[in-house]
Protein backbone atom coordinates (compact mmCIF):
# COMPACT_ATOMS: atom_id res chain seq x y z
CA UNK A 1 0.00 0.00 0.00
CA UNK A 2 2.78 2.47 0.81
CA UNK A 3 4.49 1.60 -2.49
CA UNK A 4 1.20 2.44 -4.24
CA UNK A 5 0.80 5.75 -2.35
CA UNK A 6 4.39 6.69 -3.13
CA UNK A 7 4.18 5.89 -6.85
CA UNK A 8 0.62 6.22 -8.22
CA UNK A 9 1.21 9.79 -9.44
CA UNK A 10 4.17 8.58 -11.51
CA UNK A 11 1.95 6.04 -13.29
CA UNK A 12 -0.61 8.71 -14.21
CA UNK A 13 2.24 10.86 -15.49
CA UNK A 14 3.51 7.94 -17.61
CA UNK A 15 -0.01 7.58 -19.05
CA UNK A 16 -0.09 11.28 -19.98
CA UNK A 17 3.41 11.08 -21.51
CA UNK A 18 2.32 8.11 -23.63
CA UNK A 19 -0.83 9.95 -24.81
CA UNK A 20 1.29 12.94 -25.85
CA UNK A 21 3.89 10.73 -27.57
CA UNK A 22 1.14 8.78 -29.36
CA UNK A 23 -0.30 12.02 -30.75
CA UNK A 24 3.13 13.21 -31.89
CA UNK A 25 4.10 10.05 -33.79
CA UNK A 26 0.72 8.67 -34.96
CA UNK A 27 -1.50 11.67 -35.82
CA UNK A 28 -1.33 13.04 -39.36
CA UNK A 29 -2.76 16.48 -38.61
CA UNK A 30 -0.08 18.94 -37.52
CA UNK A 31 -2.40 20.77 -35.08
CA UNK A 32 -3.03 17.44 -33.32
CA UNK A 33 0.71 16.86 -33.11
CA UNK A 34 1.26 20.25 -31.48
CA UNK A 35 -1.55 19.47 -29.01
CA UNK A 36 0.25 16.22 -28.19
CA UNK A 37 3.44 18.19 -27.61
CA UNK A 38 1.56 20.45 -25.17
CA UNK A 39 0.22 17.41 -23.26
CA UNK A 40 3.75 15.94 -23.11
CA UNK A 41 5.07 19.21 -21.70
CA UNK A 42 2.34 19.54 -19.06
CA UNK A 43 2.96 15.98 -17.85
CA UNK A 44 6.67 16.70 -17.37
CA UNK A 45 5.73 19.77 -15.32
CA UNK A 46 3.37 17.53 -13.32
CA UNK A 47 6.28 15.15 -12.67
CA UNK A 48 8.43 17.91 -11.15
CA UNK A 49 5.58 19.26 -9.04
CA UNK A 50 4.59 15.76 -7.89
CA UNK A 51 8.12 14.90 -6.78
CA UNK A 52 8.42 18.14 -4.78
CA UNK A 53 5.67 17.01 -2.37
CA UNK A 54 6.44 16.14 1.25
CA UNK A 55 3.69 14.45 3.27
CA UNK A 56 2.39 16.55 6.21
CA UNK A 57 4.20 19.66 4.97
CA UNK A 58 2.67 23.07 4.28
CA UNK A 59 2.88 25.19 1.12
CA UNK A 60 6.18 27.12 0.69
CA UNK A 61 4.89 30.36 2.24
CA UNK A 62 6.42 31.43 5.55
CA UNK A 63 4.09 30.81 8.46
CA UNK A 64 5.29 31.56 12.02
CA UNK A 65 3.41 28.47 13.22
CA UNK A 66 5.89 26.26 11.31
CA UNK A 67 9.54 26.83 12.32
CA UNK A 68 11.93 27.35 9.39
CA UNK A 69 14.70 25.27 10.99
CA UNK A 70 12.77 22.07 10.31
CA UNK A 71 12.78 22.00 6.47
CA UNK A 72 10.40 19.00 6.43
CA UNK A 73 7.67 21.51 7.40
CA UNK A 74 7.68 23.13 3.96
CA UNK A 75 7.22 21.65 0.48
CA UNK A 76 10.37 21.93 -1.67
CA UNK A 77 10.05 25.36 -3.43
CA UNK A 78 12.86 24.87 -5.96
CA UNK A 79 11.01 22.62 -8.50
CA UNK A 80 8.04 25.01 -8.36
CA UNK A 81 10.25 27.93 -9.39
CA UNK A 82 11.85 26.00 -12.25
CA UNK A 83 8.43 24.90 -13.54
CA UNK A 84 7.07 28.46 -13.47
CA UNK A 85 9.78 29.32 -16.00
CA UNK A 86 9.08 26.14 -18.01
CA UNK A 87 5.33 26.84 -18.36
CA UNK A 88 5.85 30.36 -19.72
CA UNK A 89 8.64 29.33 -22.11
CA UNK A 90 6.49 26.38 -23.26
CA UNK A 91 3.61 28.65 -24.21
CA UNK A 92 5.98 31.01 -26.05
CA UNK A 93 7.35 28.15 -28.16
CA UNK A 94 3.78 26.91 -28.75
CA UNK A 95 2.96 30.35 -30.18
CA UNK A 96 5.89 30.06 -32.60
CA UNK A 97 4.67 26.58 -33.62
CA UNK A 98 1.21 27.91 -34.45
CA UNK A 99 2.65 30.86 -36.41
CA UNK A 100 4.62 28.31 -38.48
CA UNK A 101 1.46 26.20 -38.97
CA UNK A 102 -0.47 29.22 -40.26
CA UNK A 103 2.34 29.96 -42.73
CA UNK A 104 2.48 26.31 -43.88
CA UNK A 105 -1.28 26.29 -44.44
CA UNK A 106 -1.12 29.48 -46.51
CA UNK A 107 1.58 27.91 -48.72
CA UNK A 108 0.28 24.38 -49.19
CA UNK A 109 -3.45 24.62 -48.24
CA UNK A 110 -3.18 21.51 -46.10
CA UNK A 111 -1.98 20.53 -42.63
CA UNK A 112 -1.85 16.79 -43.29
CA UNK A 113 1.66 15.42 -42.77
CA UNK A 114 1.74 12.90 -45.63
CA UNK A 115 0.09 15.27 -48.13
CA UNK A 116 2.62 17.92 -47.14
CA UNK A 117 5.53 15.53 -47.78
CA UNK A 118 4.04 14.72 -51.21
CA UNK A 119 3.62 18.42 -52.03
CA UNK A 120 7.16 19.22 -50.92
CA UNK A 121 8.59 16.45 -53.13
CA UNK A 122 6.77 17.93 -56.13
CA UNK A 123 8.49 21.31 -55.74
Amino acid sequence: MSFFLGHYAYWFIIGLLLIGFYAIIFKRNLVKQVIGLSIFQTSIILFWVASAVKWNATVPIYDPAFPLEETANYINPLPHTLMLTAIVVGVATLGVAFALLITIYKHYKTLDEEELIKEMKRW
Binding site: F3, L5, G6, H7, Y8, W11, F12, I14, I19, F21, Y22, F26, K27, R28, N29, V31, K32, V34, I35, I39, T42, I45, L46, V49, S51, A52, V53, W55, A57, V59, P60, I61, Y62, T71, A72, Y74, I75, N76, P77, L78, P79, T81, L84, T85, I87, V88, V89, V91, A92, F98, A99, L100, I102, T103, Y105, K106, T110, L111, D112, E114
Partner: protein
Protein backbone atom coordinates in the same frame (compact mmCIF):
# COMPACT_ATOMS: atom_id res chain seq x y z
CA UNK B 1 -1.26 15.79 0.33
CA UNK B 2 -4.79 14.42 -0.24
CA UNK B 3 -4.37 11.36 -2.37
CA UNK B 4 -8.11 10.71 -3.02
CA UNK B 5 -8.54 14.21 -4.51
CA UNK B 6 -5.31 13.85 -6.48
CA UNK B 7 -6.36 10.52 -8.00
CA UNK B 8 -9.77 11.92 -9.01
CA UNK B 9 -8.22 14.97 -10.71
CA UNK B 10 -5.58 12.84 -12.46
CA UNK B 11 -8.16 10.35 -13.79
CA UNK B 12 -10.20 13.21 -15.25
CA UNK B 13 -7.00 14.78 -16.59
CA UNK B 14 -5.99 11.60 -18.45
CA UNK B 15 -9.55 11.30 -19.84
CA UNK B 16 -9.53 14.91 -21.06
CA UNK B 17 -6.09 14.46 -22.67
CA UNK B 18 -7.22 11.30 -24.48
CA UNK B 19 -10.45 13.01 -25.65
CA UNK B 20 -8.53 16.01 -26.94
CA UNK B 21 -6.31 13.96 -29.25
CA UNK B 22 -8.94 11.40 -30.34
CA UNK B 23 -11.83 13.70 -31.42
CA UNK B 24 -12.16 14.67 -35.07
CA UNK B 25 -13.27 18.31 -34.65
CA UNK B 26 -10.25 20.48 -33.89
CA UNK B 27 -12.40 22.98 -31.96
CA UNK B 28 -13.50 20.24 -29.54
CA UNK B 29 -9.87 19.28 -29.29
CA UNK B 30 -8.88 22.84 -28.31
CA UNK B 31 -11.63 23.07 -25.68
CA UNK B 32 -10.78 19.69 -24.12
CA UNK B 33 -7.10 20.66 -24.04
CA UNK B 34 -8.11 23.74 -22.05
CA UNK B 35 -10.11 21.51 -19.70
CA UNK B 36 -7.04 19.27 -19.33
CA UNK B 37 -4.81 22.26 -18.53
CA UNK B 38 -7.28 23.50 -15.92
CA UNK B 39 -7.50 20.05 -14.27
CA UNK B 40 -3.70 20.01 -14.19
CA UNK B 41 -3.73 23.47 -12.55
CA UNK B 42 -6.11 22.11 -9.89
CA UNK B 43 -3.89 19.10 -9.22
CA UNK B 44 -0.83 21.39 -8.93
CA UNK B 45 -2.68 23.30 -6.21
CA UNK B 46 -3.61 19.99 -4.55
CA UNK B 47 0.08 19.08 -4.55
CA UNK B 48 0.92 22.36 -2.79
CA UNK B 49 2.31 24.28 -5.77
CA UNK B 50 0.07 27.34 -5.59
CA UNK B 51 2.17 29.56 -7.85
CA UNK B 52 2.50 26.87 -10.53
CA UNK B 53 -1.27 26.34 -10.35
CA UNK B 54 -1.92 30.06 -10.92
CA UNK B 55 0.45 30.22 -13.86
CA UNK B 56 -0.94 27.06 -15.45
CA UNK B 57 -4.54 28.32 -15.08
CA UNK B 58 -3.73 31.69 -16.68
CA UNK B 59 -1.03 30.80 -19.21
CA UNK B 60 -1.61 27.10 -19.83
CA UNK B 61 -5.41 27.03 -19.86
CA UNK B 62 -6.09 30.58 -21.07
CA UNK B 63 -3.40 31.65 -23.51
CA UNK B 64 -2.78 28.19 -25.04
CA UNK B 65 -6.50 27.79 -25.75
CA UNK B 66 -6.63 31.20 -27.42
CA UNK B 67 -3.55 30.36 -29.54
CA UNK B 68 -5.04 27.07 -30.73
CA UNK B 69 -8.42 28.61 -31.53
CA UNK B 70 -6.75 31.43 -33.53
CA UNK B 71 -4.66 28.85 -35.41
CA UNK B 72 -7.72 26.71 -36.18
CA UNK B 73 -9.76 29.66 -37.46
CA UNK B 74 -6.86 30.69 -39.72
CA UNK B 75 -6.45 27.14 -41.10
CA UNK B 76 -8.78 24.13 -41.34
CA UNK B 77 -11.36 23.35 -38.68
CA UNK B 78 -11.64 19.61 -39.17
CA UNK B 79 -9.01 16.95 -39.05
CA UNK B 80 -10.56 14.61 -41.63
CA UNK B 81 -10.67 10.89 -40.97
CA UNK B 82 -7.61 9.50 -42.74
CA UNK B 83 -5.93 6.14 -42.45
CA UNK B 84 -3.12 5.95 -39.93
CA UNK B 85 0.30 6.78 -41.39
CA UNK B 86 2.65 4.32 -43.01
CA UNK B 87 5.37 2.58 -40.95
CA UNK B 88 2.83 1.58 -38.28
CA UNK B 89 4.86 -1.23 -36.70
CA UNK B 90 8.08 0.72 -35.95
CA UNK B 91 6.09 3.62 -34.49
CA UNK B 92 4.09 1.25 -32.27
CA UNK B 93 7.35 -0.41 -31.19
CA UNK B 94 8.84 2.98 -30.29
CA UNK B 95 5.72 3.85 -28.25
CA UNK B 96 5.74 0.53 -26.37
CA UNK B 97 9.49 0.70 -25.72
CA UNK B 98 9.10 4.24 -24.37
CA UNK B 99 6.29 3.16 -22.03
CA UNK B 100 8.14 0.07 -20.81
CA UNK B 101 11.29 2.09 -20.11
CA UNK B 102 9.31 4.71 -18.18
CA UNK B 103 7.52 2.09 -16.05
CA UNK B 104 10.83 0.33 -15.37
CA UNK B 105 12.37 3.67 -14.37
CA UNK B 106 9.44 4.65 -12.11
CA UNK B 107 9.91 1.57 -9.90
CA UNK B 108 13.37 2.87 -8.98
CA UNK B 109 12.15 6.31 -7.90
CA UNK B 110 11.97 7.07 -4.17
CA UNK B 111 8.56 7.20 -2.51
CA UNK B 112 6.81 10.46 -3.19
CA UNK B 113 6.44 12.71 -0.15
CA UNK B 114 9.30 11.16 1.80
CA UNK B 115 11.15 14.09 3.44
CA UNK B 116 14.37 12.01 3.48
CA UNK B 117 14.41 11.40 -0.29
CA UNK B 118 17.54 12.54 -2.14
CA UNK B 119 15.73 15.59 -3.51
CA UNK B 120 14.86 16.95 -0.05
CA UNK B 121 17.66 15.55 2.15
CA UNK B 122 19.96 17.94 4.00
CA UNK B 123 22.96 17.70 3.60
CA UNK B 124 22.68 16.61 -0.01
CA UNK B 125 24.26 13.45 -1.51
CA UNK B 126 27.49 15.39 -2.23
CA UNK B 127 27.75 16.45 1.41
CA UNK B 128 26.99 20.13 0.73
CA UNK B 129 24.03 22.24 1.88
CA UNK B 130 20.85 21.31 -0.04
CA UNK B 131 19.84 24.32 -2.16
CA UNK B 132 16.14 23.91 -1.39
CA UNK B 133 16.76 23.77 2.39
CA UNK B 134 18.94 26.87 2.14
CA UNK B 135 16.14 28.72 0.32
CA UNK B 136 13.51 27.59 2.84
CA UNK B 137 15.60 28.67 5.82
CA UNK B 138 16.91 32.00 4.51
CA UNK B 139 14.30 33.35 2.07
CA UNK B 140 12.28 35.29 4.64
CA UNK B 141 15.38 36.75 6.29
CA UNK B 142 17.02 37.76 2.97
CA UNK B 143 14.06 39.29 1.14
CA UNK B 144 11.35 39.87 3.80
CA UNK B 145 8.81 38.18 1.52
CA UNK B 146 6.82 35.26 2.95
CA UNK B 147 6.39 33.48 -0.40
CA UNK B 148 9.57 31.45 -0.97
CA UNK B 149 8.82 30.72 -4.63
CA UNK B 150 8.67 34.44 -5.38
CA UNK B 151 11.94 35.06 -3.56
CA UNK B 152 13.75 32.30 -5.51
CA UNK B 153 12.26 33.45 -8.82
CA UNK B 154 13.06 37.14 -8.46
CA UNK B 155 16.05 37.28 -6.09
CA UNK B 156 18.12 34.10 -5.93
CA UNK B 157 17.56 33.12 -9.55
CA UNK B 158 16.90 36.55 -11.07
CA UNK B 159 19.15 35.90 -14.05
CA UNK B 160 17.15 32.76 -14.82
CA UNK B 161 14.01 34.85 -15.03
CA UNK B 162 15.79 37.45 -17.16
CA UNK B 163 16.74 34.65 -19.58
CA UNK B 164 13.10 33.55 -19.64
CA UNK B 165 12.02 37.08 -20.58
CA UNK B 166 14.58 37.07 -23.41
CA UNK B 167 13.12 33.78 -24.70
CA UNK B 168 9.59 35.27 -24.64
CA UNK B 169 10.82 38.40 -26.46
CA UNK B 170 12.53 36.23 -29.09
CA UNK B 171 9.40 34.09 -29.53
CA UNK B 172 7.20 37.17 -29.91
CA UNK B 173 9.60 38.66 -32.48
CA UNK B 174 9.68 35.35 -34.41
CA UNK B 175 5.86 35.19 -34.54
CA UNK B 176 5.73 38.81 -35.68
CA UNK B 177 8.32 38.29 -38.42
CA UNK B 178 6.82 35.02 -39.72
CA UNK B 179 3.30 36.41 -39.97
CA UNK B 180 4.44 39.79 -41.32
CA UNK B 181 6.40 38.46 -44.31
CA UNK B 182 3.39 36.47 -45.46
CA UNK B 183 1.24 39.59 -45.40
CA UNK B 184 3.82 41.46 -47.52
CA UNK B 185 3.90 38.62 -50.01
CA UNK B 186 0.11 38.62 -50.22
CA UNK B 187 0.17 42.34 -51.02
CA UNK B 188 2.82 41.80 -53.67
CA UNK B 189 0.70 39.06 -55.23
CA UNK B 190 -2.38 41.27 -55.17
CA UNK B 191 -0.47 44.06 -56.91
CA UNK B 192 0.72 41.56 -59.50
CA UNK B 193 -2.82 40.33 -60.18
CA UNK B 194 -4.04 43.96 -60.36
CA UNK B 195 -1.49 44.59 -63.09
CA UNK B 196 -2.74 41.52 -64.96
CA UNK B 197 -6.36 42.62 -64.72
CA UNK B 198 -5.72 46.08 -65.98
Amino acid sequence: MHWELEITLLIFGVAAAWLSISTRSLLTSAVTLTVFSFLMALSFVTMGAIDVGFTEAVVGAGVTGIFIIIAIFKTARQSPEKPEPRLRAPRLAALLLFGALLIYGSTGLPDRGDANALLHRDPSAAGTVNAASYYIQNAYEDAATPNMVTVILADYRGYDTLGEEIVILAAGLICFLILRTTRERRERERRKSDRFNR
